[in-house]
Subunit: 349 residues, 2 copies
Amino acid sequence: MKPAILFGGASYEHEISIVSAIALKKVLNVPLTFIFLDTEGTFYHIPAEKMKSNHFSSGSYKKDDTLRLVRGGFEKQGLFKARALEGFDVVLNLVHGGQGEDGTVAALFDFYAIPYIGPRKEASVLSFNKWLTKLYAQGLGIETIDFQLLRIDSERRVDFDYPVIVKPLRLGSSIGVSIVKSADELDFALDVAFEFDDEVLVEPFIEGIEEYNVAGCRAGDKWILSRIEAPQKKEFLDFDQKYLDFSRTESVSEAKISAELEERLKEAFKIVYGALFEGAVIRCDFFVQDGRVILNEINPIPGSMANYLFDDFTEVVSSLVSHLPKSRTIKPDYAYIDKVQSAKGPKIG
Amino acid sequence: MKPAILFGGASYEHEISIVSAIALKKVLNVPLTFIFLDTEGTFYHIPAEKMKSNHFSSGSYKKDDTLRLVRGGFEKQGLFKARALEGFDVVLNLVHGGQGEDGTVAALFDFYAIPYIGPRKEASVLSFNKWLTKLYAQGLGIETIDFQLLRIDSERRVDFDYPVIVKPLRLGSSIGVSIVKSADELDFALDVAFEFDDEVLVEPFIEGIEEYNVAGCRAGDKWILSRIEAPQKKEFLDFDQKYLDFSRTESVSEAKISAELEERLKEAFKIVYGALFEGAVIRCDFFVQDGRVILNEINPIPGSMANYLFDDFTEVVSSLVSHLPKSRTIKPDYAYIDKVQSAKGPKIG
């Protein structure tokens, strides 16, 4: 396995993707290729020794070689002709949020026939849009928190008792999220959320609810599930606190829960993962209330790939690489066109 | 408006996309550029006078110029250097099924910042996958036909009385679809459907149900809805019959229904279209049973764009081109990275 890590991207989580890539460099015990996507849509080949955050914040990455997508990989413009970028056989999509999680990166790699680890198009769309995540969970019989959808032009009326939590519909992190304790705080919270999306989700905010995270993937017939983490909580993890996750490389200890609850969380994870998330290492964040397991959100590209939840993360990635989903080959035989050409009806061609 | 028509694609509907493009050439009263996508992922610039079906079935398109995606458009490799393909300002995505409707084309155009008419990524995924269409409709409070999802490895048991209809989950047409009249026909129908997808939808088949099609789009604040068609029916339209639609250019007459039903069909269309399908001309196929309006399917790229349902199709496209959805611009300021660099916690960079 020779992975290339794709990071950056046009996303509000552009910077944490850089942090995440630097963390993975420490964790994956294999030679790595680094491909940076800037917010303008240009790919850069970053030499491993330059993988430090100030290489990006200073803009000095702009002196590195640019890359173009071609069938099967990337190519680099040489003095006289382009040559293929060599040294990797699979790409790890580590573009958090935006293009990485909304299906863009998946579609690019599907189109250019580049093997990759990360959510496919459907998986991306269903986990990136929090309303669609709810519909998907409902379709699977998995419980979610009650919700209300507000558009930027909707009447600003909330059907729940306060406190409520307000979230932009399509951000993969806590950006733009607010806890609203009373009606007079609502307008400001909505203004903030609508900065990021024309649609906003409002949910009742349940104080002190138990929260558990499970990460994992299916590699062929084999499930690889992480230990379960009970994330550190303050009243609400803000962006900075939560996204220290993205630089995490030290493993965390297992949540102290009953074997029965552990089993139920893992079963819920498997149902959510289903066939949809094949090819990706995802993290599901669950709430547990009165013994009910409730899906809070799906992170299809968790911070630093939730490496800190696994014992041997290199092995996880390696197993998954051997079991990437395949697509059907489609070959037209032009039999239909021949039939239409000879059919009665509007003459074509 | 100077549209380029993108057609072909890696799709079981590759051929009908060619037929559809030829039909649009007759209908759109503006100069057109034609871009063919073969099933290998290569783009070709097809001169307008070569837009005949045998140019593709014979393979002679391979002598035409190839194109590459670049930011803002396509470029053509010249003798010494590449030059931009000129002559168009918007692309009409006419790749039916597969890459055209599964979100791939949308993602490519989003990524390369090329203005286009067609469903965006979320709209593609939700209409291409028939199960997700059901969940979406349910989420909107729109009725759908009852269903059951079977995977290729599921037990082959059907919960409904026969006849049932069996459909591959992710095809935009009647390909692989069967009506199953009794249990002994089930296996064969499932074998056929599983040729095309690992997941299959089973629905009760309701004989003689009324069917109505409505096409349209929203251009800014203005709805442009087509006349309502009551499609010609045999017991079930097979692929050949149904897809003569793709070459249709003659307008059809309005269905004879009450003003009240017309109004309800149009209201249902608007709810389904919502904000999700902005930028696309879609066709919704509805059933009406005992006065209830039921969504059957959403065609996010209907055959020849359902031009035959509109009085002035060029005007429809032109209005839509003036109101394409915009995306938010994202600029990192690297404030977060600076903060993380100075924060306590794992040292990065």
